[in-house]
């Protein structure tokens, strides 16, 4: 039925409170070859394991953040605002 996602601001909440934003990808720069853009737009790694993802706390603080989620167990190992991670 549902797993828990840890919002860096609100803590552990039901996944139903969130919108999933997909894998975190590096957007090509202007003028990058079409192939890079096609890869960025259409290809997903769909990692069987820990993957870095975008999440939006729709029913909470309404912030985008990133999470490390194990796609095999749906365990969210860590989450953070990307500005604060680097």
């Amino acid at each position: 039925m549902s797993f828990l996602v840890r919002c860096p601001q609100c803590g552990n909440r039901s996944v139903y409170e969130f919108r999933f934003g997909g894998e975190v990808k590096q957007r090509p720069g202007p003028g990058a070859p079409d192939l890079d853009w096609a890869h960025y737009t259409y290809t997903k790694v769909n990692e069987a394991g820990v993957q870095r993802e975008w999440w939006f706390h729709r029913s909470g603080c309404r912030q985008w953040f990133q999470a490390l989620r194990n796609t095999l167990t749906n365990e969210v190992q860590d989450s953070f605002f990307p500005e604060e991670s680097t």
Binding site: M1, S2, W37, T41, W64, E75
Partner: protein, 885 residues
């Protein structure tokens, strides 16, 4: 034995049945003399009580309109209306039991073998649905009762209130943990309540559980699934018919599974006759309900269990004709009810057969949590192992104190057409053997081909015997044969409980009740209510009303409520950067007091939304979105802001502002007396915006024209919605102003060929195909979708959104097919009758070769093809002079 004290009455098939307080529906019916409780799914064989613990499919009935209720675990309540299922005219005389004589027509997998052609299936479907089945689903407007959800948290959840569960609860609670103890029985105690175990009484454990304040007992609630993050799905049945059935989402830090072991059937011919019961069911009838379920019994079982069962029977005054080992049973005798047992040593007459069946650890929840099941031949059971860190098991579910009930895999050839493995869908051991011979020799393919373990019992009765037959026929061990996967929900849950309460939030615009007073006919748009059109007199014809509204806008002046538009107030030094990044057009160079139309695409160049962008100050923009896309656009903007460090503040002001569009040749004359703002075209041209007072109310005015006439979109504080609406209608009275609805607006914009994103476009539409090649500004260095749009700009689209007008006087439907040379070539996205052209006009996707002025295509209308002519220009005022004057 408990003495019946108080009584109550419910109805069974229209007849009153008396029950003691504490009776289940099944125990009360059994006491009243009912022996047949259901007819089987396929062969309509009579079935009676078997498990009395909600684990088998034999007692499913319709209770107060809800089908497939397990009557053996459902408390009898006064006034309940209970009816049987899947039998006509009665359970005792079911005409369809003749089906079992034709079992040779229905070999295993006969669905797959017979229904190989859609026509055969469509011909057979109504008949099959009538004769095979599991009751009738209630109709939508006859859904039984209320449903609700609740959410709970606990440090530890313990599933099962037997001795092991209670001991675990006491231990953890004494250590200071907060414990939720879930038990599906009417009282704590588990098997101690009915089994013969003189050394322990549940009373002491129950008293200690009750004395600990940090144990919360969820009595009479059953757990149907254990999900990720230790979430337990728990159903709380109704205590009174007027109660809501409640689904509890119970989130636990740790879970202790103490579900014990249940008993399942033994395999021999005619093992499904009425009067053949599991030993635990007999013990429950005797000890919990004070019913002796027969006069003369044969006990099938091995020592030592069979000895305690014999003692129980004797104590209840039931004569024991024989005790026989499972391996020596040849078959049970009888037509409907059992009359005897034939063994290799002789024949015994009886009216009750007690099976000391396989004891199976109830490990479904553990399996769902990721535990493996491992075969243990000595215990005769698959034992759960390898638990995830926060899950523990205690008691019989771990396999402790289990002893094999019969030899598995069976030593003799198990094949018989009347030895039922699966009671839910009448699969015999012969069916399994045949399926294995046909090549379905893996336990998972065998399951899917024969539907064994896929019925209401979800494998509880049939899984172990099926594995046994499969192992025997394929000469594998039980462990190598393996088990099928357990998935929630088990036991079954009503769809109503999963769906919960019927909450349909409704959003009303600030002028809602003004529209109501004007005779609005409502349209649901997402959560919003919007006037589709207005009926000046009750019962007025839609076409007449819409055309009157249309004429008011084209000839005089009209007023429409557009409060549902998404409205974003965006402030900050870097708003221009953000808008340039996410809109395909250039917006940072928008001059103060000007409005620009914006199209928003994704990285693939697909159009996601459109709207207007107004600049109210250097660092202050006002953005509108389509009604349904507000949340998406708001989130989209915030997403692309992450990590930029830009100074941008987005405020959603959708509910805070009301909005109207005043449009028509007389719009200026209506608005002028209400505002100090100079509305002349020189001072306030097309695509300009101003902030000013209108009727004393602070407002943003935008001169834009979706409907193609001189007009102003006015945004103002929601609390003044009705005031400004009335003020504008009052000021417009001398021009016979009319409020207009969505229908008129759609017609007016269609004559202007204005596209509505997500009505005329879809999830694959780019601006070049939609005829908006002017929208993307590819000279911008970067924006979302630039790379894809740059590529698309250099390609010839395969299809285009084109305007069309019908040659003859006929109105196709939205979505009608477009045909070229007899081939399907596109579809109509919007079509309306144009009072201007006196013909149906619209927008349609057509092949690019056809998308030029004068080309002709066919439109499918009312079962035939009608010619339509493609037009490139707007149908009304193509130069847009009316907008600009």
């Amino acid at each position: 034995m408990s003495e019946p004290s108080e009584t109550l009455t419910f109805q069974f098939n229209g007849q009153p049945v008396t029950a003691s307080v504490g009776d289940t529906i099944a125990s009360a019916l059994y006491r009243s003399g009912q022996r047949i409780f259901s007819r089987s799914f396929k062969y309509h064989r009579p079935r009676g009580l078997l498990c009395l613990s909600g684990k088998c499919p034999n007692c499913l009935m319709n209770v107060d309109g809800t089908p497939n209720v397990r009557t053996c675990t459902t408390r009898a309540l006064a006034g309940m209306k209970v009816t049987h299922q899947n039998a006509y005219p009665s359970l005792e005389n079911d005409f369809l039991s003749v089906v079992q004589r034709f079992d040779w027509l229905m070999p295993v997998g006969w669905y797959y073998k017979t229904m190989t052609n859609p026509r055969v299936w469509h011909a057979a479907e109504p008949f099959i649905r009538r004769i095979a089945g599991l009751g009738v689903a209630p109709s939508l407007d006859n859904v039984n009762g209320n449903y609700e959800h609740s959410y709970r948290h606990t440090e530890v959840a313990i599933v099962g209130g037997g001795p092991a569960g209670m001991a675990s609860a006491i231990e953890l609670a004494t250590q200071g943990e907060q414990v939720a103890l879930i038990d599906d029985q009417p009282a704590l105690g588990g098997h101690l309540r009915y089994s013969r175990s003189p050394d322990t009484s549940p009373a002491d454990l129950v008293a200690r559980v009750r004395a600990l304040p940090n144990i919360q007992v969820l009595q009479g609630r059953y757990c149907f699934g254990l999900y990720e993050g230790n979430l337990l799905g728990v159903v709380q049945p109704r205590k009174e018919p007027k109660d809501a059935e409640r689904l509890i989402h119970l989130r636990a830090g740790r879970v202790v599974v103490a579900t014990g072991a249940y008993e399942s059937s033994l395999l021999f011919p005619n093992n499904d006759l009425v009067g053949i019961m599991l030993s635990t069911a007999v013990q429950r009838l005797i000890r919990l309900h004070g019913i002796a379920p027969g006069k003369v019994a044969v006990v099938i079982g091995r020592s030592p269990r069979e000895e305690s069962v014999v003692a129980d029977l004797r104590e209840a005054g039931i004569q024991v004709a024989a005790t026989v080992a499972p391996e020596s049973v040849v078959k049970a005798l009888g037509r409907q009810c059992v009359t005897g047992v034939q063994t290799r040593d002789g024949q015994y007459a009886c009216d009750l057969v007690v099976m000391c069946g396989h004891r199976i650890p109830d490990a479904g929840l553990l399996n769902q949590a990721g535990a493996r099941l491992q075969w243990d031949a000595r215990k005769g059971a698959f034992i759960p192992t390898d638990f995830p860190p926060s899950i523990r098991a205690v008691g019989e579910v771990t396999g402790e104190s289990l002893i094999a009930a019969a030899i598995l895999p069976p030593e003799r050839d198990p094949a018989s057409k009347r030895a039922f493995v699966c009671l839910c869908s009448d699969v015999s051991s012969q069916d399994l053997v045949n399926a294995i011979d046909e090549g379905f020799d893996h336990i998972e393919t065998l399951k899917r081909y024969t539907t064994t373990t896929m019925g209401p019992c979800q494998g509880r009765m049939c899984q172990l015997p099926a594995i046994g037959v499969c192992a025997r026929q394929t000469s594998r061990s039980m462990g190598d044969t393996g088990v099928t996967t357990s998935r929630p929900p088990n036991p079954g849950v009503t769809l109503g409980a999963l769906a919960g309460a019927r909450h349909h939030p409704t959003r009303r615009t600030p002028m809602h009740y003004e529209h109501d007073a004007s005779g609005a006919v409502w349209l649901d748009m997402g959560e919003w209510k919007r006037p589709r059109y207005y009926q000046p007199q009750k019962g007025a014809d839609e076409k007449f009303c819409v055309e009157a509204e249309y004429r008011a806008v084209r000839e005089r002046v009209g007023l429409i409520d557009v409060s549902t538009l998404g409205k974003l107030d965006i402030k900050g030094r870097d708003v221009g950067n953000l808008l340039d990044k996410i809109y395909a057009g250039q917006l940072s160079d928008l001059r103060l007091g000007r409005v620009r139309y914006g199209v928003l695409c994704d990285e693939a160049g697909i159009m996601l939304d459109d709207g207007t962008v107004s600049r109210l100050a250097d660092d202050h923009f006002f953005v509108t979105t389509t009604t349904g896309n507000l949340d998406f656009v708001n989130q989209w903007m915030k997403w692309w802001l992450v990590g930029t460090g830009w100074d941008v503040y987005i405020t959603n002001v959708t509910s805070g502002l009301a909005a109207v569009n005043l449009a028509g040749p007389n719009a200026r004359e209506v608005l002028t007396p209400l505002t100090d703002c100079d509305l002349s075209t020189t001072a306030f041209p097309y695509m300009a915006c101003r902030t000013a007072q209108v009727a004393g109310i602070e407002a943003i005015l935008m001169r834009i024209g979706f409907v193609g006439e001189t007009g102003w979109e006015i945004h103002f504080p929601a609390e003044f919605g009705p005031d400004l609406w009335k003020a504008l209608l009052d000021a417009g009275r001398r021009f016979d102003i009319r409020p207009f609805g969505i229908e008129a607006q759609r017609l007016l914009r269609l004559e202007k060929r204005h596209v509505i994103v997500a009505v005329d476009s879809d999830a694959l539409t780019n601006p070049y195909e939609a005829g908006m090649s002017w929208a993307p500004k590819l000279d911008k260095e970067d924006f979302i979708g630039r790379a894809a749009l740059h590529r698309l700009a250099g390609e010839q689209p395969r299809q285009k959104l084109a305007g069309f007008i019908m040659n003859e006087d006929i109105l196709p439907e939205d979505g009608a097919a477009i045909m070229v040379d007899g081939q399907l070539a596109g579809r109509v996205t919007s079509v309306r009758f144009s009072p201007l052209k006196k013909k149906a006009i619209g927008l349609a996707w057509v092949p690019a070769e056809q998308a030029h002025e004068g080309a002709e295509v066919d439109v499918r209308v009312a079962g035939r093809l009608a010619r339509a002519r493609i037009t490139e220009q707007a149908f009304y005022d193509p130069e847009g002079t009316r907008l600009r004057t």
